[in-house]
């Protein structure tokens, strides 16, 4: 017994403590409880890792039976294999760093305890998600992280835009969740169980069309959670939340849940070529689509948000072409450098007193040296420059894509160039030139810079953690073959992207040229939000107002309820006349009643 349940239980305890009595505790106690609980999860993961010889065989633990209905059984079971281990280390490790960072970042916030309570709640659900041994338990974690995400996006609930963004994230995720639920129903019907190990073991014997349906529905769920086209729209808006939230939930961990589910169900996907192909297409399109939007954004967090969408697209490509371990590899390195980019952005925003527009920054290199150095590491990593971490994982995906279909590789390379361009555009505009804002930028406190430095080191050398080799027992490696030419091409794309950004944004300020129609199209994010509003949201609101509200609710439902009330009142008015309060009239009624009764008995002969 490795007591895996302790891993999510501790953050849950932290949530309960900070959520109930946190407001009365001093700040250091709140932060200590929250950080300690997450670090404990990390430590316990390490302990289990050591005790099981790096999860060489999966650890499965049964705690209690949750649902029992005939043959169908769902237990509260946790399982941990090497894939889980990678997720556990990423979630608890980066989670710990971001919790420490939040201590400094949220210092001046009045809802300090609420913030840490939600963060711990998120950790508890995320760890439940990755440890779950069956789809239903996984779904609890899945919904739970959605809930925490909603709570944290709308954390500053006095801001209308923040609550709107929270609602949007929740509602868009519901669409994905619906797909996930249908997938679970199909699994129950076809496999008779929700146990992931049993399902994946039984997958080869099932009809291809069944597997494809299940996989496509799982993909819908994954698209919602991992912000893939067409359900990615919530993620850029989710940047309304505090920056540590964007780093932890909307860059490093929660958005990788979709990747995790597909990787976890890899046996289903590898038996359905159609579904895998769709996964790859969705990922590829999302990657280049989001990267192109990222090119022209001016809000530093929005740039990184679109970058996240794009990088998640990369991971989907990896999953689609069967390079599961490469995807998980990229998931991990992306967690390092994207969390770092967001935390760095948070440090910059903190320094500039809440300013997020890169046009109102500039020249921060000298004022925020640590932030600059670490963000540069992350930038080089995401651009795929060797030997930074992103290089290894991105190339693993691109090479696998090349072996699957060369054109996918070329689109991936173009995306890589665009990625390098927009990240370095943000870095150059923010850190070089002269300062254009009115705040007095200052370096962040130690609680914020220490996590930055640790993540900086991980972004630089994290690629040497040989994830594909570690995951070999779970995802048998396909053809590896380090194609030197392909590597050179993708690295060149990254370098060219950086150089173009340098030419355009370093040195003298760029003249404003009149924007062309293509520029406008991209600048307005291809009008996707507007299209969704016109096609779905607006008709829905209009129908709700005219039909559901005015007709169904006001006329029919209210009519019935009000009608029942009115009839009751009328009847009451009538009966009320009897209750005159005069004893004599009561007596008279009694007499009348008795006479009627006696007459009736006499007439019907009941008395005889």
């Amino acid at each position: 017994m490795q007591n895996l349940w302790l891993i999510p239980a501790f953050p849950l305890a932290g949530f309960l403590i900070n959520g109930t009595i946190g407001r009365k505790l001093p700040k250091f106690a709140v932060a200590f409880i929250a950080i300690f609980c997450v670090m404990f999860s990390f430590a316990w993961t390490l302990k289990v890792y050591a005790a099981t010889q790096s999860f060489i065989t999966p650890v499965t633990e049964h705690y209690f039976t949750w649902i029992q209905s005939g043959q169908f059984r769902v237990g509260w079971d946790f399982t941990a294999d090497r894939l889980t281990a990678v997720m556990l280390f990423v979630v608890t490790g980066i989670g710990s760093l971001i919790h420490i960072y939040s201590r400094g970042y949220m210092d001046h916030d009045e809802s300090f305890a609420r913030f840490f309570a939600y963060m711990n709640l998120f950790m508890a659900f995320m760890l439940t998600l990755v440890l779950a041994a069956n789809y239903l338990l996984l779904f609890i974690g899945w919904e739970g992280v959605g809930l925490s995400s909603y709570l944290l996006i709308g954390f500053w609930y006095k801001k209308k835009s923040a609550t709107d963004a929270g609602n949007k994230a929740f509602i868009v995720n519901r669409i994905g969740d619906f797909g996930f639920m249908l997938a679970m129903l199909l699994i129950v019907i076809n496999f008779g169980t929700l146990d992931i190990a049993t399902v994946t073991a039984a997958a080869p014997g099932k009809a291809a069309v069944t597997l494809t349906a299940i996989c496509l529905l799982l993909l819908v769920g994954a698209c919602g959670k991992s912000a893939q086209f067409p359900l990615y729209v919530w993620l850029p808006d989710a940047m309304e939340g505090p920056t540590p939230v964007s780093a932890l939930i909307h860059a490093a961990t929660m958005v990788t849940a979709g990747i995790y589910v597909i990787a976890r169900s890899s046996n289903l996907f590898s038996h359905s070529a159609t579904a895998s192909e769709v996964v790859a297409y969705v990922g590829l399109f999302t990657a280049i689509f989001a990267a192109s939007i990222g090119l022209l954004q001016n809000d530093i967090k929005k740039i990184f948000a679109y970058s996240t969408v794009s990088q998640l697209g990369y991971m989907f490509v990896g999953l689609g072409v069967g390079a599961y371990s490469a995807s998980v590899y990229h998931l991990m390195t992306h967690a390092f450098f994207k969390a770092l980019l967001f935390l760095g952005a948070g440090s910059v925003i903190h320094a500039c007193s809440g300013e997020q527009d890169i046009r109102r920054m500039g020249g921060l290199r000298g004022k925020l040296p640590i932030t600059f150095a670490t963000i540069l590491c992350a930038g080089l990593a995401i651009s795929g420059i060797p030997p930074f971490s992103g290089f290894f994982s991105k190339d693993a995906i691109l090479i696998a894509a090349y072996h699957h279909a060369p054109w996918m590789f070329w689109i991936g390379v173009v995306t890589a160039g665009m990625t390098a361009f927009y990240v370095f555009r943000a870095i150059f505009v923010t850190f070089f030139g002269t300062y254009r804002g009115d705040a007095h930028p200052h370096e962040s406190p130690l609680t914020m810079t220490v996590p930055l430095v640790i993540l900086g080191i991980l972004s630089a050398v994290g690629g040497f953690i040989a994830i594909p080799k570690y995951l070999d027992p779970i995802f048998p490696a396909g053809e590896e073959g380090h194609a030197m030419g392909l590597v050179v091409v993708s690295v060149a794309a990254g370098i060219i992207g950086i150089l173009i950004a340098g030419v355009m944004y370093l040195g003298r300020p760029r003249k404003e040229s009149a924007p062309g129609p293509l520029y406008n199209l991209v600048y307005h994010k291809y009008y996707v939000d507007e299209a969704y509003n016109a096609a779905i949201v607006h008709p829905l609101i209009v129908t709700s107002r005219s039909v559901l509200w005015k007709l169904v609710d006001n006329a029919i439902i209210d009519g019935m309820v009000d009608g029942a009330a009115a009839q009751t009142r009328n009847a009451g008015n009538l009966l009320r006349k009897l209750q005159s309060g005069s004893i004599r009239s009561y007596a008279a009624w009694i007499v009348v009643g008795s006479v009627v009764l006696i007459l009736a008995m006499g007439l019907t002969g009941a008395g005889r």
Binding site: S580, G581, S582, I583, R584, A587, A588, V591
Partner: protein
């Protein structure tokens, strides 16, 4: 034992009904509380007469028992009722039942 000669059962019952109806009429029509109170006593005793008649006719003690119960209740009622009437008169200075109607409204 048989019924007293020449007085059939029906007479007792008719007398009882007449007394009861008089009681009702008095209760409904009179204004003075004491008269109303006496009407109630009249009705109770009309019922007692019926009980005794049937008890005598059927050679059963139950009717007697009931009659005694009713008498006890009537005695208690007389005690409480007269006390209430006295208090009402002391407080309101009237015995007109139509003026004692605080239950109304």
């Amino acid at each position: 034992m048989s019924a007293p000669a020449g007085v059939p059962l029906t007479w007792f019952l008719v007398l009882s009904a007449v007394l009861f109806s008089l009681g009702i009429a008095g209760f409904l029509l009179r204004r003075n509380i004491i008269t109303v109170f006496m009407s109630i006593e009249l009705m109770l005793n009309a019922v007692n007469l019926t009980f005794i008649t049937f008890s005598y006719q059927l050679k059963s003690n139950s009717g007697h028992l009931f009659a005694f119960f009713v008498m006890v209740v009537a005695a208690a009622e007389a005690a409480v009722g007269l006390a209430i009437i006295l208090t009402v008169y002391k407080n309101r200075g009237t015995l007109n039942i139509d003026e004692v109607e605080s239950l109304k409204n």
